[in-house]
Symmetry: C2
Subunit: 236 residues, 2 copies
DNA sequence: GCACAGTATTGGTTGGGCCAATCCATAGAC
DNA sequence: GTCTATGGATTGGCCCAACCAATACTGTGC
């Protein structure tokens, strides 16, 4: 009966069907889908198969199911969608880490450049705060590298936020896995290059504070390049 | 004791569990998973629930199920993983198109820069071929814009291939949706700026042929910037 | 008008069953 | 001896029916 030309598994077919319905606006962002029972009948598949499709699209960030309530289409914001992309990056092989960093270098540079001409005083204030947190030398005290890692992540998050490009922000976020950050900072502490990393962040901050786009882009690129060099050396 | 921070549904839990097993190397890339029946017992969930998790990770590009054979972990290559990311981009709202292009501009520039110092004569030859295909003016003949779109895509694919960074290639590929390419070329034909677009591609080709990284990066960025300007104007 | 209990609705999960594609070992043809 | 095909055994694909759990809704009593 189905006889469709494409390689069709009922489940995969259902996924495509749902995607199409969402893309066509039949189910608008934020809108609610029919109940699983009804939708299964409508699509001509069992509820079980429909559920597999829904679950898959939920993991992809397209749908959101709330028990007792219903299933809704997400806002389809870049951040939401690229969030799942981050999951994939996390699982990538070590061999691709340097490739990812090369991309991140370009993106962070663009973000800093854009941010320099758009950043607000409030954002600059937060930046300064995170910079201060970062200065807590983990070698003394309880030595919690986690704190520094967190401050580092926050710092870069503010920069990408100031850049005002959600796609750019989401991509940078996705490429900056927490595990990589942690590894890098721990290595810096071990090798005594902690201060240099701090200075790099200060340079980015100062360029942004001076609203100097070209300089901001350059120092941001240099910063990531420093991480690259560090990791490249560590791989031997 | 449920007070765990994470939202725990058996299905979501299973997805996390599988991801962990893959990340930890318990299921190495290319490796085969136990049968659904066995794995369901092992994870303490029903086979149906396990199937939802497997289907979700399959859509995400992490697993690959072959009926009658078994379920395998994919190669986890960037291209494979980012392929699903492309699907998400396709569904993004129009409002984010310009944001995406801004990112693409940076990435294409990097790709061209890298390619300039690594491209082989064979790749240059293919580039010239695609350039020739692109010159088939769609205004005469059957006016198949599709052909030009395809040649355009191939052209950029060769550039990213020559750049030698799989992550970069996959990202650019994902951000360059076919629908967007088609829309752009059709608009160029309508507005008679077809030749200019061809010249931009020629400029990229010549910079690569001369192995001039800086120039290649610059003209590539200018090319995407042209697309941006074109679409920005078209939105009004 | 408001708090609360009961009920209907809806996604979450389970177990079992059957189908279809693939693999594999064995028997047969040449 | 080598190749073929034939028939199980294995494995994912799909469906059905039922029950659980969380949420929304509704009507009652105050």
């Amino acid at each position: 009966m189905a006889g469709n030309g494409t390689r069709t598994s009922a489940s995969g077919e259902t996924i495509q069907h749902l995607k199409k319905m969402i893309a066509s606006g039949e189910f608008p962002p934020g809108g609610r889908l029919p109940t699983e029972r009804d939708l299964a009948v409508q699509l001509g598949v069992s509820r079980n198969t429909l559920r597999e499709a829904i679950r898959a699209l939920t993991l992809a960030g397209l749908l959101e199911a709330r028990q007792g309530d219903g299933t809704y289409v997400t806002s389809l914001s870049p951040a939401m969608l690229l969030d799942t992309f981050a999951m994939l990056v996390e699982l990538s092989a070590d061999a691709t880490v340097l490739d990812m960093l090369e991309v991140r270098r370009a993106l962070e540079s663009v973000a800093a450049t854009q941010a320099a001409s758009r950043i607000t005083d409030e954002q600059l204030g937060r930046l300064a705060g995170h910079l201060e947190e970062m200065r807590h030398d983990p070698q003394r005290g309880d030595g919690s590298v986690d704190e520094v890692v967190h401050a580092d992540a926050q710092f870069h998050a503010v920069v990408t936020e100031a850049a005002g490009n959600p796609v750019l922000a989401a991509l940078i976020e996705a490429l900056s896995t927490r595990t990589l950050r942690a590894r890098t900072w721990r290595g810096r502490v071990d090798q005594g290059v902690f201060d240099r990393a701090i200075r790099e962040h200060e340079a980015i901050f100062e360029a942004l504070r001076d609203r100097d786009p070209a300089r901001a882009g350059a120092v941001a690129a240099a910063h990531v390049a420093g991480v690259e060099a560090f990791l490249r050396a560590a791989q031997h």
